[in-house]
């Protein structure tokens, strides 16, 4: 009853100065909208990454070599070699499919068609890479085992390469050059979009053994090997088998840099990155809410000065200091709270608009907890911003204020 009356009275006071109240709340609106939109966009990114990794299949293990920053600074580079792949192929019993992949060199290869030339990733892979890489074909066919065994000069192009080489989507049968080697286009992949801003369509696939044949004798390509466990074989068992086979190099040195990860673990790593990014960005943007709060405090202090006589009248009619204090706090909270509500609405619209404009990002609403968090935070800003003005209003001397003209 008293709460409703106080809030009603606070709303009435704010209605008397609609433009001023709106401008006061605007700082909160912008702050809350930014927080909600940023959290929403990171949630969308999180979902997109999750969807991309889900396409790889949760039950695929990836074997790769990690090189630490310190090792890189020493000029060292850890690799999984072609010999490792052959050892796994010959002796790994727990995997039903072994699919090695490597990039032709660590740098980008020059790919040419007619007068168009561009640097891109050239990946040597087997037919199984279609599943593990979630590649859908827009036209033509994928690499086959025969292509690899026969070391055929054939390629599957990523959608991004097709456009940039001025090829059409019915370019199957055309020829391109990779480092001056002619290759026939046998397939074109459907577009996959971007992850964390990186294009997923900028690649050329060649058969694995063709890639090996193109390597210089001294080259040490770094392979990533995808493994699919045999039915009934636990992931952990397969990991143990891989570690046992690759634990030491030919000189007997430990190879603790070899990592075996499931695709869901990889997805988890990326999800953590996007979540931490979301929280950090949210905290930075929250500073703007504090700035909005300072704006509210400033206007409330002006309001106390303007309404000194009104406060005196209230006191003469029986209002206590506490009632005056609560009244001004309520006004501050109503400004900040309504700014918060409007901000949540604006943040949701902003998030929807941005996710609709950015290709590949799913249409996402910010999560419900971000609405609640932003609203509660704005109400807290209202209390913080209203406290000092409310205390000042409550301490107004009725005798002096009634004497003011």
């Amino acid at each position: 009853m008293m709460l409703a009356r106080t809030l009603g009275s606070a709303l009435g006071s704010l209605r008397d100065h609609p433009l001023r109240s709106f401008l006061t709340a605007l700082g909160i609106v912008v702050g809350v909208a930014s927080v909600v939109a940023v959290i929403g966009l990171f949630a969308g990114l999180d979902r997109m990454v999750g969807d991309q990794f889900a396409g790889m299949g949760a039950n695929v293990l990836q074997v790769r070599a990690e090189t630490s920053i310190e090792e890189e600074m020493r000029g060292e580079r850890n690799v999984i070699t072609y010999d490792d792949y052959q050892r796994l192929s010959a002796r790994l019993t727990g995997a039903s499919a072994i699919s090695p992949v490597f990039e032709l060199t660590d740098g980008r290869q020059s790919v040419r068609h007619g007068r168009s030339e561009l640097p891109t990733r050239v990946i040597a892979a087997t037919r199984r890479y279609q599943g593990s890489g979630s590649i859908t074909l827009a036209s033509g066919r994928f690499l086959s085992d025969e292509d690899s065994h026969a070391r055929r000069r054939v390629v599957v192009l990523g959608d991004g390469v097709v456009e940039r080489l001025n090829l059409t989507h019915d370019a199957v049968g055309e020829f391109i050059q990779i480092n001056n080697q002619w290759m026939k286009v046998i397939g074109i992949a459907a577009p996959k979009g971007r992850i964390l801003g990186f294009s997923q369509d900028d690649f050329v696939l060649i058969p694995f053994e063709t890639g090996v044949s193109l390597l210089a004798a001294s080259a040490r390509p770094n392979l990533t090997i995808s493994l699919t466990p045999r039915e009934g074989v636990e992931n952990a068992t397969l990991v143990r088998q891989v570690n046992a086979l690759l634990a030491r190099d030919t000189n007997g040195r430990s190879r603790d840099y070899i990592k075996v990860e499931t695709s869901s673990e990889l997805a988890g790593t990326f999800t953590n990155i996007t979540r931490i990014g979301g929280v950090v960005a949210g905290c930075i943007v929250a500073v703007s809410l504090l700035v909005g709060g300072i704006g509210v405090m400033n206007i409330m202090l002006v309001s106390v000065t303007e309404r000194t006589r009104e406060i005196g009248i209230y006191k003469a009619l029986g209002a206590t200091r506490k009632q005056i204090r609560v009244q001004f706090l309520a006004e501050s909270m109503v400004v900040a709270g309504s700014g918060g509500l409007l901000g949540v609405l604006m943040g949701c619209l902003l998030c929807l608009a941005v996710s609709a404009l950015v290709p590949g990002l799913p249409l996402t609403l910010p999560p419900w907890w971000s609405w609640l968090l932003a609203f509660l935070f704005s109400a807290a800003v209202g209390v913080f911003a209203g406290y000092l003005p409310a205390m000042r209003a409550a301490s107004v001397d009725a005798v002096i204020s009634l004497r003011r003209e």
């Binding site: 009853m1 008293m2 009356r5 009435g12 006071s13 008397d16 006589r309 009104e310 005196g312 009248i313 209230y314 006191k315 003469a316 009619l317 029986g318 209002a319 206590t320 200091r321 506490k322 009632q323 009725a398 005798v399 009634l402 003209e405």
Partner: protein, 231 residues
């Protein structure tokens, strides 16, 4: 003049008020003794700085005396806490100001309801009592108007209705006709006389000897003391 506490609306005994102005003690009231019986209608006159406004503020519990005892309706109210003083002020004292002091954003009925709602009365009941008070001062047809839409006399009638709606023990009026033309001032004074006839205790501060002459008795203040009075 002397009366028992039971028959007194208010009683002041040795009330002094001393202000510190830049380290100089200024004595605004100097041992004031005053009895105002119930249903009295008394004016307080005096030059500027004589202490009449300070006296009115102490009578209205807006200010506290430095020394002395103040009884309102038989209760010692000289040293109340702030919430206690506010509660008694809202319930037992009605203020009428020279400049009306209506809240411009509230319509007439909400202005009159204000002391009742501040006291925690239910809105519907407060509204009914406000309508009744406005009817008593002849403004039942202007309840939805804003103060800016009223004449000076009508504003002062709203202020009187606001002061009366709590059925106060004491009505305090500070220059109630000071901002009105002479015809309207006479109407307001007639209303005060009607209230007095109905039993209301009224203390009125004025510069105008014509206004003072219409009260039941008149007191004059000088240098913080009550100098003279007549019944």
């Amino acid at each position: 003049m002397s009366a028992s506490s039971a028959t007194c609306a208010l009683r002041l005994q040795g009330i002094s008020k001393v202000y510190d102005v830049e380290d100089v003690a200024v004595r605004a009231l100097d041992h004031v003794d005053l009895d105002v019986p119930r249903n009295d209608y008394v004016s307080i006159m005096g030059a500027s700085g004589s202490g009449k406004s300070t006296l009115l503020n102490i009578l209205g519990l807006l200010d506290t005396p430095t020394t002395g005892r103040y009884e309102l309706g038989g209760m010692d109210v000289s040293a109340l806490t702030e919430p206690e003083a506010a509660k008694i002020r809202g319930a037992q004292i009605g203020f009428i100001f020279q400049s009306f002091n209506l809240l411009p954003r509230m319509d007439v009925v909400r202005n009159v309801m204000l002391p009742l709602t501040l006291a925690g009365m239910h809105t519907a009941e407060a509204r009914e009592r406000a309508f009744h008070a406005l009817d008593d001062v002849g403004l039942s047809g202007r309840t939805a108007h804003l103060p800016t839409q009223l004449s000076g006399g009508q504003k002062q009638r709203v202020a009187i209705a606001r002061a009366l709606c709590t059925q106060p023990t004491l009505l305090l009026a500070d220059e109630p006709t000071g901002a009105l033309d002479s015809r309207t001032a006479l109407e307001i004074l007639a209303l005060f006389e009607k209230l007095h006839d109905e039993g209301q205790t009224i203390v009125l501060v004025t510069h105008d000897s014509n206004v003072a002459a219409r009260c039941r008795r008149s007191l004059t203040m000088s240098d913080g003391k009550i100098m003279a009075g007549h019944a």
